[in-house]
Each structure stands twice: as structure tokens, then as C-alpha cells.
Amino acid sequence: MELGEVVVRATGIEKYFGDHHVLRGVDLEVRAHQTVMLVGRSGSGKTTMLRCLNFLEEPTVGVVEIDDVRVEADPLHARSRRHQEQIRQIRLRAGMLFQDFNLFPHMTVLQNCIEAPTRVKRIPKAEAVATAERFLDKVGLMDKRDEHPARLSGGQKQRVAIARALCMEPKVLMFDEPTSALDPELVGEVLKTMAELAHEGTTMIVVTHEMSFAREAADRVIYLDEGLIVEQGPPEQVLDAPREELTQQFLRRFLRDTET
């Protein structure tokens, strides 16, 4: 798919947790229809980087631009009304998927999907329901429309979460290790849904440990280590012929661990 305009641009993102320098200046640019995957050891900062993009973590330094919204990190005035509103504008443009799904347990699947569209974007209910049904159908869970999340399997929950995010019609979908909390036999259905989205040209940023999935669905793979980008490029380069010693070590260890 041909490259579109820049949808996400993060510049010089740094994050401290106390004295711990978790991100040490990360730049990231994602264009429309691209699927970018962040890989790296645990503790490398990849999840923190993702959470900085929609300010679930306020970066200590840096600028995030998504679509037409630009927000500068402002940890000293993080609670200010203006800053919070800017962040909200960013979040309206970036759908987020979590490791443990975070569906709202007191609402049905459909209610989960229409809560934000009707009450945040003020879309008329009938229209929001129609959109929700379209996306539930897309993830293959139309028949679960009126169930509560407790009645769903982990894989189904994550697919509902994907539908819920799509209902807000975001410019980019961000996945934070979306299959890590799943039983192994349920990983496939979620990855399949994500691969479909990627092939249809959804703009996606994915933090993942699923290397074969990255190889199949990523346009670009970024290897992070100790809060810095070590290497990035198409998956066949980064995953199959990495130039950097750190990336090679990571992949060697990773392949050894997953093969056993």
C-alpha cells in the first residue's frame, strides 16, 4: 500500500520514573496505512513509549503530534485544563488496546462500543449502534452483542475491545501487547483480526512479542533497548538480518527461548 501523510509523529520523547531514565529520546514517525511494531526486551521502554503517545504516561520531555493535534510534554502543568483538553484531542484520534482488554464489565458488548461515541462524540444513538454492529460483525462477534464481557473468552474480549476502539474512528490504533494475557490457543484469532486490519490499511502501532506476526504484518519493525531505538526497518531486515549487535543478541535469545 502506498504511503500516506504522516499520522503520528513523536519527537525526542524522554520519560523518567523518578530517577529512572526509561525513555532517552525516541523519535517515531508513522504514516497513514503503515503498521509499525515495537519490539524489545521487557523493560526496554516499548510499552512506556506507546503510553506516552496518548499521554497515559505524561512524557518528561518531547512532542507528540497525531493528525492535526500537537501536544508538548508539560509535566509541570500536566493537570492544567488546557493541557488535559489537548491530550483528550490526541486520545480521540488514537485508539488504544490493552494487554488485559479493560472492557467495562458492567456494560454489555454493545454498550461498551457505543458509550464513548454517544457520550463523547455525541453521535446519535441509532447511528452509533449501526456503527458498532458493523465493527462487531467485522471482528466476528455480532452474536455476542448483548452479552456481558464476563461471558466472553479472552480472545473474544480483545476482539470486542478492537471493535470498541474502531467505533471512535481513530486515525491510528495502538496495541500494547494485545495477546500477552491470552491462553495460547486464543492468540491466533486476535492476531488474525489485527492482520486483517493491517492489510486493509489501518494505521497501527503494535508493541508485541509475536515475532512471526511482526514478520507477516509489519511494514516496519523498531527494536528498542534501554529507552533508545537501536534499529528499525522492514521486518525482513530487522528480524532476519539485523545489523546491530544488540538486535542480534535479542533475537538469538528470543528464538532460543521460544523454540524450547
Binding site: 497515559l56 493537570r79 472492557l103 464513548a116 457520550r119 456481558h148 470498541r164
Partner: protein, 269 residues
């Protein structure tokens, strides 16, 4: 040894164990009922032999005392509703990042929990008129009970709100919801489900604590029983009737509370 090996024998022992368990549980219930019947029966017989059971007296004074139960229930229902509202506000205050709001909420909780309910009741009814604030007895009782229970429930609600997984709030924020919306539509409904059993407990406790407002002449159950006892020179029966009514009320509401709790647990998690 596999099941298929000797199927008949396996099934028999399973059935026999099940039967034995069932029998043991039935026998337990029977014994329980017998002990209650024996103890209560002995108590009643003792009273009767002592000549303290006077059915004529009960027919005359019973309805008058019983009437107080209505006041007791009304007082408790209104107060628990107000207490829950105060508790939600208090809990939001105790979780606020605004120092002023946090300080006010904390002062409320500390002050109310640090003084006896009886003092609070008297203060509102007897002390406030001195500064020109005259509040009728019934209303004073409601204010005292709701402020008092509101403070205890504040801490329960605070814990309930904190018990909602942080991911819930993050998911809501990530969808672009305003802080207020996140609290009202996502966090509070889940927190309420968590604290429902505690509210039920407090409601039942309040039925009994409401007896304290008899000291400011609210004509509830205890006040009427004491008065009937004094006038008829039979405090024993009057207070027995009152105690019995409190007991029955708590049993009835405990029953409803248990059912509600079960329904909540079955609910949606």
C-alpha cells in the same frame, strides 16, 4: 484403578458419599432448629411461670409500640440514602488532588468518627438551638444518623473506588472521556457494586443505632416501648416487644441483603 475397570463399584461409593453428606447436612439443620426452639421455648416458659406474660397487656400496648417501628424504618431509610450521598461526595473529596477539598473531607471523617453518635445527636438537638438553629427532633435524628454513617461509608466508598482496576480508568480515558464522565459512568457504577454489601450491613446496623434518637424524644420503637413500660408499670414486656421487633426487622433486611448480594455477585464480572 480406572473407572472403566470396575465401574459399578466406583459409582456406588460416589453415591454413598453423596448420600452421607446430604444426611449430615440435614441432621445439622435439624439440630440447629431444635436448639433454637429449646432455648427460646425455655425462656418463654420461664417468663410465663414467673407470671410475666400477659396477653391482655400485649393487646393493649403492643400496637402502640409496634407503631414506632414505622418511625424507625422511615428514619433509617431516609438516613441511609442521605448517608450514601454524603459518602460518595466524601469519598471523591478524600481522593481529590485538590488540597482544600481533601482537607474538608478528611476533617469531616475524622471529626464524625472521633466522637460518639450519642454526642452528635444531642449536639444537633440540644446545642444548636443556643446559636439560633432549632431543628425538630425527627430531623435532628436524620441529620445525626446520616452524617455519622456518611463518614463511615465515606471510607468504604473510597476503598471501593480504589478497588476498581486502574485499567478501567485508563481505557475510559483512552477513549477520550472527560474525567467526570470516567468517574460517573465507569468507575462509580463498579465501585457501588463493590460496596453494596457494606451498605447493607450499615443499614442493618443503623436500624439498631436509631434507638439512640429516643433520647431526643423521637417517637420511634424504643421511645414508645420505654414510655409504654413506664405507664403500664411493665417495662419487661414493653422492652421485650421492642427487642423482638428490632430482631425481626434485622432478620428480614438481612434476608433481602443476602439476596441482593448474591444477585450482584452473579451479575457481570
Amino acid at each position: 484403578m480406572t473407572r472403566e475397570g470396575i465401574p459399578g463399584r466406583d459409582d456406588t461409593i460416589v453415591q454413598r458419599v453423596r448420600l452421607a453428606q446430604k444426611r449430615a447436612s440435614t441432621w445439622f439443620k435439624v439440630k440447629f432448629a431444635l436448639v433454637w426452639a429449646a432455648l427460646i421455648g425455655a425462656f418463654v416458659v420461664a417468663l410465663y411461670l414467673a407470671g410475666e406474660i400477659d396477653l391482655e397487656w400485649t393487646a393493649t400496648w403492643g400496637p402502640l409500640i409496634l407503631d414506632g417501628a414505622r418511625t424507625t424504618i422511615l428514619l433509617t431509610v431516609i438516613s441511609i440514602v442521605l448517608a450514601v450521598i454524603l459518602a460518595i461526595l466524601g469519598a471523591l473529596g478524600r481522593l481529590s488532588s485538590n488540597a482544600v477539598v481533601y482537607a474538608i473531607a478528611s476533617l469531616y471523617v475524622s471529626l464524625v468518627r472521633g466522637t460518639p453518635l450519642l454526642v452528635q445527636i444531642s449536639f444537633i438537638y440540644l446545642a444548636l438551638p443556643q446559636v439560633g438553629l432549632v431543628i425538630p427532633a425527627f430531623e435532628s435524628g436524620i441529620i445525626a444518623l446520616s452524617f455519622n454513617y456518611g463518614a463511615y461509608l465515606t471510607e468504604i466508598f473510597r476503598a471501593g473506588i480504589q478497588a476498581v482496576p486502574p485499567g478501567q480508568r485508563e481505557a475510559a480515558q483512552a477513549l477520550g472521556m472527560h474525567e467526570r464522565h470516567v468517574m460517573r459512568r465507569i468507575v462509580l457504577p463498579q465501585a457501588v457494586r463493590i460496596v453494596i454489601p457494606a451498605i447493607g450491613n450499615d443499614f442493618i446496623a443503623m436500624i439498631k443505632d436509631s434507638a439512640l434518637v429516643s433520647t431526643i424524644a423521637v417517637q420511634e420503637l424504643l421511645w414508645r416501648a420505654e414510655r409504654a413500660g413506664r405507664q403500664s408499670l411493665n417495662s419487661l414486656q414493653a422492652l421485650l416487644v421492642a427487642a423482638l421487633v428490632y430482631w425481626v426487622l434485622t432478620i428480614i433486611f438481612s434476608f433481602f441483603q443476602e439476596r441482593l448480594e448474591k444477585r450482584m455477585a452473579r451479575g457481570d464480572r
